[in-house]
């Protein structure tokens, strides 16, 4: 059997076009793109500490990417990972800042709080979709902004210290950062969050590939009507899928606000929620695909400061490249057609050749 590489080709094609567009942008502002990319990748990979930071950034992206990818598998578009992430982060932060417990108890409690908070934020649009056929895209957008203001006022009214724009810092017991890991990676931000996100990749892969639940969710994603005809409870699948997707994004909030950072900034929707869409699409919605594309985006983000320090290129180049990659994955049909055309032509030529030899 011939393996189908279309998915990988599509992703690599989008990455190539994204990097090409990034180069054009660098040229547009009079910078040298070769130098720009040299410093960008060097900034992401030149030392153990920086590689650690790549994975520290990827930690959150893996989880938001998994969240979006998981919902995609059920045919749902979770554009609300940002809001679910905020609420997950809020739940964990509130507990970490107000309860005093030994670390071994506190961290699991915060983990559960983030998981449940995100799941609740995801299950509401899921329920609205299942029960009232409210489109999940619109519902999750609304939930994002509700989360934005809920976090804004909760933090500002009850959990600030000094600055009005962020929460008080998480005490050491409630942080995912551990000193041995930081020391091992000469001061990197990498924290226990990476363990959580890799475990989630494994668990989600298991659920999707090896369980009845995963089978049912995928069946609903492939063809809702056929799934219903086969006796699968479609509404229950939609609600469950959004709940799990929300929980994953909630955990992203935990890793970001108590690991990568140690407080919550208010008045901002975390960009990781939207980057998660890019991660999921680039990873072709497969859990390990998500892992690799999140790592790639981690490099782009980790290196941008170093690049900015050594060139005149603003760090927003990384966000631009990621956005362009999303655009090209959306239009991947174009890339796919092109690829198939090229391959088809080669196959034709081979056939003609073979025919001529006879």
């Amino acid at each position: 059997m011939k393996r189908d590489y279309t998915g990988i080709v599509k992703s690599l094609g989008a990455v190539f076009l994204g990097l090409l567009a990034g180069a054009i942008l660098m040229i547009a502002i009079g910078a040298n793109p070769l130098k720009g990319y040299f410093y960008l990748f060097q900034g992401g990979l030149k030392s153990i500490e920086r590689i650690g930071n790549v994975f520290a950034i990827a930690t959150t992206l893996i989880l938001t990417g998994l969240s979006v990818a998981f919902a995609f598998r059920t045919g749902l578009f979770n554009i609300g990972a940002a809001g679910q992430m905020l609420i997950g982060g809020l739940c964990a932060t509130v507990i970490g800042l107000s309860v005093e417990l030994p670390r071994l108890v506190l961290l699991p409690v915060m983990f559960l709080a983030a998981l449940i908070g995100g799941a609740v934020w995801g299950v509401i649009p899921g329920f609205l979709k299942a029960r009232f056929n409210v489109h999940e895209v619109v519902a999750t957008i609304m939930m994002n902004w509700i989360a934005y203001w809920v976090v804004y006022y909760t933090i500002r009214n009850y959990f600030t210290a000094g600055l009005e724009t962020e929460s008080a810092s998480m005490p050491a017991a409630g942080q995912l950062r551990v000193s041995w890991l930081s020391q091992l990676l000469s001061g990197s931000y990498l924290n226990l969050g990476i363990v959580i996100s890799i475990l989630c990749v494994i668990v989600i892969k298991f659920i999707l590939d090896r369980t009845t639940l995963g089978y049912e969710l995928k069946a609903v994603g492939f063809n809702r009507h056929a799934a219903k005809y086969a006796g699968i409870k479609v509404n229950r699948s939609i609600i469950l899928s959004m709940m799990i997707a929300g929980g994953l994004a909630g955990l992203a909030g935990l890793t970001y606000y108590t690991g990568y950072s140690v407080n919550i900034q208010i008045g901002i929707l975390p960009s990781q929620g939207f980057d998660g869409i890019a991660v999921a699409l680039l990873g072709a919605t497969s859990p390990w695909g998500v892992f690799f594309s999140a790592t790639f985006f981690g490099i782009l983000h980790a290196g941008k400061g170093f690049m900015n320090a050594n060139t005149s290129i603003p760090p927003q180049i990384s966000d631009s490249i990621i956005a362009i990659i999303i655009y090209f994955t959306a239009t991947s049909l174009f890339i796919e057609k092109l690829y198939k055309k090229l391959r088809g032509r080669r196959a034709d030529r081979k056939q003609i050749k073979a025919g001529g030899d006879e």
Binding site: L25, W145, Y327
Partner: protein, 316 residues
């Protein structure tokens, strides 16, 4: 006492409502033609940026013209940028939600990328702005005069004029009928000789132009500084479009309703009388009522039936 406060707050509410209304109206053109546009936020950012850059570069030399040219630049930039969305969703049959998301992310990243190249910090502040003025004669009417016709920006009247024109265009002309048909039954429209692809391109580009106008109005009236984001105003416009059930009058009401709630919430920090309602309630109110409206109207939704579906004659 309360009346004084209302008079004081009204001009702010209206100033905030104008960009919201025009952007939601832009969304109406796009969705009525059959293309879902969640990229309104990004298109606003583009207009916001283009307006700021243009006004900043002209305000020293031609102060009178700079604002007008800036607003025009916002409209053109928005329309051109929306071509990306149109091309992806109409010509390439891409997923319209993904394309819209890409538009939002791209607009935020690109404008900051160029703004930082221009100014270093990424913020572009302008010194000029539209001066508030009173409408002659009408501002002398008791009660209504002080509320609606004093302290107004002329852009607000432009926005309202476009709103009125749009209602006429969409519901009283054959062009409007064709555009709406493309969003309801594109195949029927096509068999009646309507060029669906062209109509959808027009719908998306008008949405880009109007969202760009919304962003430009922001910079020229109350914002005064570009900082890379319109803070969710584009999504609020999307909520107004949905809560207004894809109808001009509904959008007008929804935009004003949301704009007023937001203004009261912001004002409650300074005006104690407004403290009766916690600001968080007022801030989340637009999104909650939009969700409720979606639930209530789920059976009888007025959403364009074919919005979000690619149209491909070649495949059929």
């Amino acid at each position: 006492m309360m009346f004084d406060i209302i008079i004081k707050i009204f001009p702010y509410a209206i100033a905030f409502t104008a960009p919201l209304l025009i952007t939601a109206l832009g969304g109406l053109y796009s969705e009525r033609s059959g293309v879902v546009n969640i990229g309104l936020e990004g298109l606003m950012v583009i207009g916001f940026f283009a307006g700021a850059v243009t006004i900043k570069s002209l305000e020293a030399t031609v102060p009178q013209l700079s604002i007008l040219v800036g607003i025009l630049a916002g409209i053109i930039a928005g329309a051109l940028f929306s071509l990306l969305h149109a091309f992806a969703s109409i010509s390439l049959n891409a997923d319209q939600v993904i394309s819209g998301t890409a538009i939002n992310m791209l607009a935020g990243a690109l404008t900051l990328f160029f703004a930082r190249t221009i100014t270093g910090s990424g913020n572009i502040s302008i010194t000029l702005g539209i001066v508030r003025s009173a409408v002659p004669v009408l501002s002398k009417i008791p009660l209504i005069g002080p509320i609606f016709f004093t302290n107004t920006y002329y852009t607000t009247w432009i926005v309202l004029a476009i709103w009125g024109f749009s209602w006429f265009l969409l519901y009283k002309t054959s062009f409007g009928l064709r555009l709406r048909a493309c969003g309801e039954h594109p195949n029927a429209a096509a068999s009646a000789g309507v060029n669906v692809v062209r109509m959808r391109y027009i719908g998306v580009m008008v949405s880009g132009a109007l969202a760009g106008l919304g962003g430009a109005v922001m910079i020229a009236t109350y914002a005064g500084e570009f900082n890379g984001t319109v803070a969710g105003l584009g999504f609020l416009a999307l909520a107004a479009l949905i809560f207004g059930q894809w109808k001009p009058l509904g959008i007008l009401g929804a935009a004003f309703f949301f704009g007023f709630a937001r203004t009261v919430a912001d004002a409650s920090q300074v005006i104690p009388q407004f403290n009766v309602v916690p600001p968080i309630i007022l801030k989340i109110f637009p999104y909650v009522v939009t969700l409720i409206a979606l639930v209530l109207f789920s059976k009888t939704s007025k959403a364009p039936k074919a919005a979000g579906q690619p149209f491909d004659l070649r495949g059929k």
